[in-house]
């Protein structure tokens, strides 16, 4: 089992234990629900990691790096993109607009969707 999976299993177990302890001590619903929710969230991650276990092999998990890999050049890099900053401006205008002026929110939402589309196009 990978260390990442163990991390999430430990976190999930801890979430369950604290939720149970909290409920046992306080009988308070909201806090118990929130603490339990984390355990459920981690359970999803654990389930995902276990489901892809057989298909996944990470170079980083090699205890001893094969000689032919050491010294290899790293080649996968990201290109610059104008869309993250534009998307952030749209998101900011949208949230400010929701509170201060609905029309600003509407225009920002439209722009937001266009930028998301551009990002998807750029990414595939």
């Amino acid at each position: 089992m990978s260390i990442a999976t163990r991390i999430f299993i430990s976190s999930m177990t801890f979430g369950i234990l604290v939720a149970v302890a909290y409920w046992w001590d306080t009988r308070e619903v909201v806090g118990t629900f929130l603490l339990g929710l984390f355990a459920v969230g981690f359970a999803f991650v654990v389930a995902f990691l276990l489901s892809i276990r057989s298909k996944t092999k990470l170079d980083g998990d090699e205890q001893r790096a094969p000689a032919e890999l050491a010294g290899e050049e790293i080649a996968v890099v990201s290109a610059e993109s104008p869309w993250p900053v534009v998307l952030a401006v749209c998101a900011t205008c949208m949230v400010i607009g929701i509170v201060l002026h609905p029309m600003l929110a509407v225009f920002a939402l439209a722009a937001f969707l266009v930028v998301i589309w551009q990002l998807v196009r750029e990414s595939v």
């Binding site: 990442a4 980083g60 001893r64 010294g71 890099v77």
Partner: protein, 548 residues
């Protein structure tokens, strides 16, 4: 997922842009890290200026240096900027720069998401401060904006709205950034860099990221509910319509206490690396340090209501016991740091001085923290200057000293410039003296009963003397920060080519590449056979001493 980071694929397509446009469109983790660091330092300067205003107002009794409303705005924005816009995001900046380098990857797992996170953070911070120029002024309900202080009846100005909106944006930014910090070290490690060889700093960021993913969504929910109360006639927190103001406190502190560890866990990582390098020994108790980070992260999720003992609406024994328990993994870290130094060939360069300053100040913060985790003491100390001193020793004495340690330690790697040691020592000693002269008197002021957040105070001689002392300390801190800025200017003028490891005994992977690193981080990856790949590369004769 296999071999994604190191596959010798087709040559990368890059449209390298320079100047301002290059910074606007960059998705490179190192540039984004630098943007974070520079932005947070600007917010730090603003927050520091606001601290000076607070201390000028409180230097003597019955003063009117600023108006009462302005004073409320000043301490609100001081706390907001320090916590949301400086300490935590500074950790994001350093982590952005370091995590791919420490893992042997070319970039973050999701570079565009990373860039989006930074811009959202910047715009969120600017939105918070833009409230100052709005009608009615900026937010003035304190950094945790309790209702009813922050509701539309008490804070009717747009400034409070912009505060909620800005921090909602920074909260979302934090969540997006945490996804990158979690995925990159798990998936994008170089061959040989197993999880148990990752540097402690990267492990601390993994624990921090889990905390962010758990703790930040409730904050966003709390702020959304507060905004709906203000503008959509909702009554989540309005007791006259069946709402509950204590619900806001619950949701806020459900974020708020883990946030303390979002700020401090990265700094624990910084201190671990700095102490090991300047003690010239491998980290003592690597596994204990890693597991204690997760123990702290887990326990911190169950202590939120120790901030609410005085409401009388929480289960004191449960939250008190959980709060006491956090001292155990924190103690493990402390003992491991001391054991790392034990019988080491310690040298006292500026990063090490700041690391030792961190240990001393954070110890005071930790011990006073254990004290206020006890409800009977908290009932006395809550709302007094004792608490102000406690959390400044934790976050100021802890995080700020670690931040300066990080700046001095990684400055050569990030900018290719080694900062001047003489100015560095001046920076440290003035910071250490100034910090303790400012915040030690506040412990006594709190025990004498001086409440926090007061605009002014009666002319009680003991209060006056200690407040004046605290204000003098703040002036010394200001001089110290100015000396750091001067150091940067002076040292940058003396720029010279630096080796990969200018400290001579650094060991994590980022020290096995040039200073500053090339665009793709490594011209070629060194073999990774132990927890100290850079040390093994530079000192092959001592490679057998490195833990596997």
């Amino acid at each position: 997922m296999s071999a994604v980071a190191t596959t010798a694929a087709a040559p990368p397509r890059r449209l390298v842009k320079h100047g301002i446009l290059g910074w606007l469109v960059t998705t490179n983790h190192k540039q984004i890290g630098i943007l974070y660091i520079c932005t947070t330092l600007v917010f730090f300067l603003i927050a520091g200026f606001l601290a000076d205003v607070i201390r000028l107002q409180l230097a003597g009794p019955q003063q009117n240096f600023v108006s009462p409303h302005t004073y409320n705005e000043v301490f609100t924005l001081h706390g907001t900027a320090m916590i949301f816009l400086f300490i935590a995001p500074f950790g994001f900046g350093i982590a952005n720069f370091l995590i791919p380098l420490q893992c042997g990857a070319a970039d973050m797992a999701f570079p565009r998401l990373n860039a989006f996170g930074y811009w959202l953070f910047l715009l969120g911070g600017l939105t918070v401060f833009s409230g100052v120029f709005a009608a009615g002024g900026g937010a003035s309900a304190g950094w945790y904006a309790y209702t009813p202080l922050s509701d539309i009846r008490v804070s009717s100005g747009i400034g409070q709205d912009l505060w909620f909106i800005g921090l909602t944006l920074t909260s979302i930014s934090g969540i997006l950034t945490a996804i990158n910090f979690l995925v990159t070290p798990i998936v994008f490690r170089a061959p040989g860099m197993t999880m148990w060889r990752l540097p402690v700093f990267t492990w601390e960021m993994i624990a921090t990221s889990l905390l962010i993913l758990m703790a930040f969504p409730p904050l966003t929910a709390a702020f959304a509910m507060a905004l709906m109360d203000r503008h959509a006639n909702a009554h989540f927190f309005d007791p006259t319509r069946g709402g509950d103001p204590v619900l806001y406190q619950h949701t806020f502190w459900f974020f708020g206490h883990p946030e303390v560890y979002v700020m401090i866990l990265p700094m624990f990582g910084v201190i671990t690396e700095v102490i090991a390098v300047f003690s010239r020994k491998p980290v003592f108790g690597y596994t204990g340090l890693v597991l204690s980070a997760f123990a702290i992260a887990g326990l911190s999720m169950g202590v939120w209501a120790h901030h609410m003992f005085t409401t009388g609406a929480v289960n004191d024994p449960f939250f008190s016991a959980m709060s006491f328990l956090i001292a155990v993994p924190t103690g493990i870290k402390f003992f491991n740091w001391i054991a790392t130094m034990w019988r080491g060939a310690i040298s006292f360069e500026t990063p090490m001085l700041f690391a030792i300053g961190f240990l001393l100040n954070f110890l005071v913060g930790g011990i006073t923290g254990v004290m206020v985790a006890s409800p009977p003491i908290d009932f006395q100390a809550n709302g007094s200057y004792f608490l102000v001193s406690h959390f400044h020793y934790t976050l100021g004495g802890g995080s700020m000293f670690a931040i300066f340690a990080a700046l001095y330690f990684w400055f050569p790697k990030i900018w290719g410039v080694k900062l001047d040691e003489r100015w560095g020592r001046f920076n440290f000693w003035t910071m250490f003296v100034g910090f303790n002269v400012t915040f030690a008197p506040m412990l006594f002021l709190g025990m004498m009963g001086m409440p926090r957040r007061v605009y002014t105070y009666p002319a009680i001689p003991a209060w006056h003397d200690l407040n004046l002392l605290a204000s003098i300390g703040t002036a010394i801190i200001t001089i110290s920060v100015a000396s750091f800025a001067w150091n940067v200017i002076v040292s940058s003028r003396k720029r010279e080519a630096l080796p990969e490891d200018p400290w001579g005994s650094a060991y994590t992977l980022e020290w096995a590449t040039s200073s500053p690193p090339p665009e793709l981080n490594f011209d070629s990856l060194p073999p990774i056979r132990s927890k100290r790949p850079a040390f093994d590369k530079h000192h092959p004769e001592l490679a057998h001493t490195s833990p596997p």
